[in-house]
């Protein structure tokens, strides 16, 4: 049974490309409706080499863009906030700022600073979550427990400011819904120095702990010209050396007055992703401290009319995983005519699939963890072993182990 021979009946493949026989199509991925963007890939194999990767997402496609058209602008803020369970504040400030730009509305300076502080808090908690997952993935549960223990401090801060740990429901048109609590300043500064101390220790631990560094160095690398061609966003892009960050290049909120130091690395493997994200957490702590010093007084919100003038606006922010883009179009009514959302994982997804082409089957889980999809969602794979013509279903993790078995044979 040779692999890849075109089959008679019309197979999964679309028009145009050589048709793949179903046996050479290997489904790889989860059917996990609970995950935000569960990636599900069909890999076309030639022996061990991956020839073609066909992503299939949408398992939690809730038709949000259609639902948005039936709700008023204010209700949409709470709808978009629930797109992602980790970077929900990025969604709400991207949407609100897009509409404010559309209705040419000037937000008070204090509100911009508060939005910056809460957005950076969210970036810290998102990166710490990912660091813990990498620890768990490598079998180092102690790191997972420690990192998530320290992350609680950041979540408690968000709860103190906005009333909720993740779904903050805090940004609205014209600013934020409540002012910063007055005793928050010294609590914030104390927690920031605590987080900085801890993250410095983790950064040093992860790079020097032998059993960890050997698992992340030179694994799942992404080259710079591939990045230039495939336009990944966020840490994935910056780990290859191209330092593009929406906060620096196209500043929104108060980022022009409190500019970030854009972190970047050069060799694009998981180890550089780790140190890059830790660098970003340290930079966020610094920015929060600077923002709290320069926090202007004045109103934190100004009233905004319910309906939005006709027109359209394209707006993007730097979410923890990369550039998040909102296009909203209004026909002057009380609900939007169209809202298009492109999340960072969508942009990085293609880079991950392209990275897999030509790689052995063994690299699939590692490349995807580096991308930090909203959830490490490689969950199950069913492998059609063409030469032994047996059908196995592995979990993603098991595939990791199969990968090691594969490398061991190469030793």
């Amino acid at each position: 049974m040779s692999s890849g021979k075109p089959s008679e009946e019309k197979s999964e493949a679309g028009a145009g490309l050589m048709q793949y026989s179903p046996e050479s199509m290997m489904p790889f991925g989860p059917v996990h409706p609970s995950l935000k963007e569960p990636e599900y890939f069909r890999l076309v194999l030639e022996g061990e080499k991956i020839k073609e990767v066909i992503p299939r997402i949408g398992y939690v496609h809730r038709g949000i863009e259609r639902a948005a058209q039936e709700r008023t602008w204010v209700k949409d803020i709470y709808l978009f906030e629930r797109i992602c369970g980790i970077c929900s504040f990025a969604h709400s400030i991207c949407f609100t700022q897009g509409v404010e730009a559309l209705s040419k509305f000037e937000v008070p300076r204090r509100a911009k600073y508060i939005r910056l502080v809460v957005a950076e808090l969210e970036r810290i908690h998102s990166h710490l979550l990912w660091l813990g997952l990498v620890g768990h993935w490598a079998g180092f549960d102690t790191l997972f427990m420690w990192v998530w223990k320290d992350r609680e401090h950041v979540l408690d801060l968000s709860e103190a400011i906005t009333g909720n740990r993740i779904h903050k429901s805090y940004a609205t048109f014209g600013g934020v819904r409540k002012d910063l609590p007055d005793d928050i300043k010294d609590k914030l500064l104390a927690e920031m120095s605590f987080i900085e101390k801890r993250v410095k220790y983790y950064d040093e631990l992860v790079s020097s702990e032998r059993t960890l560094s050997v698992r992340t160095k030179g694994v799942g690398t992404i080259t710079q010209d591939a990045a230039r061609r495939l336009c990944p966003v966020g840490p994935l892009l910056r780990s290859t050396g191209i330092a593009r960050d929406v906060r620096a290049e196209d500043p929104y909120a108060a980022y022009d007055e409190v500019p970030p130091e854009v972190q970047f690395r050069t060799d694009g493997d998981i180890a550089s992703l780790l140190s890059l994200r830790m660098g970003e957490v340290l930079d966020s702590c610094r920015m929060i401290r600077v923002a709290m010093e320069k926090l202007p007084s004045g109103p934190f919100r100004t009233p905004v009319p319910r309906s939005v003038p006709a027109g359209d606006s394209a707006f993007h922010v730097e979410a923890p995983r990369g550039e998040l883009f909102y296009y909203s179009k209004s026909e002057g009514l009380s609900s939007p005519a169209r809202v298009k959302i492109r999340t960072p994982t969508m942009a990085n997804l293609l880079t991950a699939t392209e990275m897999l082409k030509g790689r052995p089957l063994a690299d699939v889980p590692i490349v995807l963890t580096g991308m930090d999809p909203c959830f490490g969602c490689m969950d199950r794979v069913s492998v059609i072993d063409l030469d032994k013509s047996k059908q196995w279903a592995f979990t993603g993790e098991q595939l990791r182990e199969y990968g090691i078995e594969y490398y061991r044979r190469l030793l």
Partner: protein, 152 residues
């Protein structure tokens, strides 16, 4: 990309430019979309295709290709009629467009000729009825979809 350059590019492509908020839009007809995108992308630093937005404007579908650099977007916009929703895919030379085009094919029914994505569907469930109009089109009515797909 200064506005004169955009003006000269638009004239070359026999298109019009319009300004909306922070992005300058070049309106071209569908045949010239490919080289419009290529010439925008070839400007220094404008290679980042953020995404492709599709909007249903009654009798045809408006596609906008957003390119980002620095503080501004330069977007190439075109209209595709619903009667023959087909356009040349730009994925051959701008590979990052593969998934964006596949998503629009799923949700709006616009087929991108030459798009290398070989999956039958990117986003919609496999049992989405083919004869129903794609979900994000104005004429698609959620009630019939829900009944046809026997969702409660």
């Amino acid at each position: 990309m200064s506005s004169e350059e955009i003006e000269s590019l638009a004239r070359k492509l026999k298109g019009k430019t319009s300004k909306s908020m922070n992005s300058t839009v070049i309106l071209v007809d569908p045949a010239r979309v490919l080289d419009a995108c290529l010439s925008v992308a070839s400007f220094e630093g404008f290679y980042h295709l953020t995404t492709i937005t599709a909007v249903d404007i009654w009798e045809d579908i408006e596609l906008t290709y957003h390119f980002w650099k620095g503080r501004s977007f330069v977007s190439v916009r075109t209209k595709v009629s619903k009667k023959k929703p087909e356009i040349q895919s730009i994925a051959a030379s701008l590979p990052s467009a593969v998934l964006y085009e596949a998503e629009i094919r799923d949700l709006f029914g616009v087929t991108f000729v030459g798009n290398p994505y070989t999956g039958k569907r990117l986003l919609l469930p496999d049992d989405y009825p083919d004869d129903l109009p794609p979900p994000l089109r104005a004429e698609a009515d959620p009630e019939t979809i829900r009944k046809r797909m026997k969702l409660e």
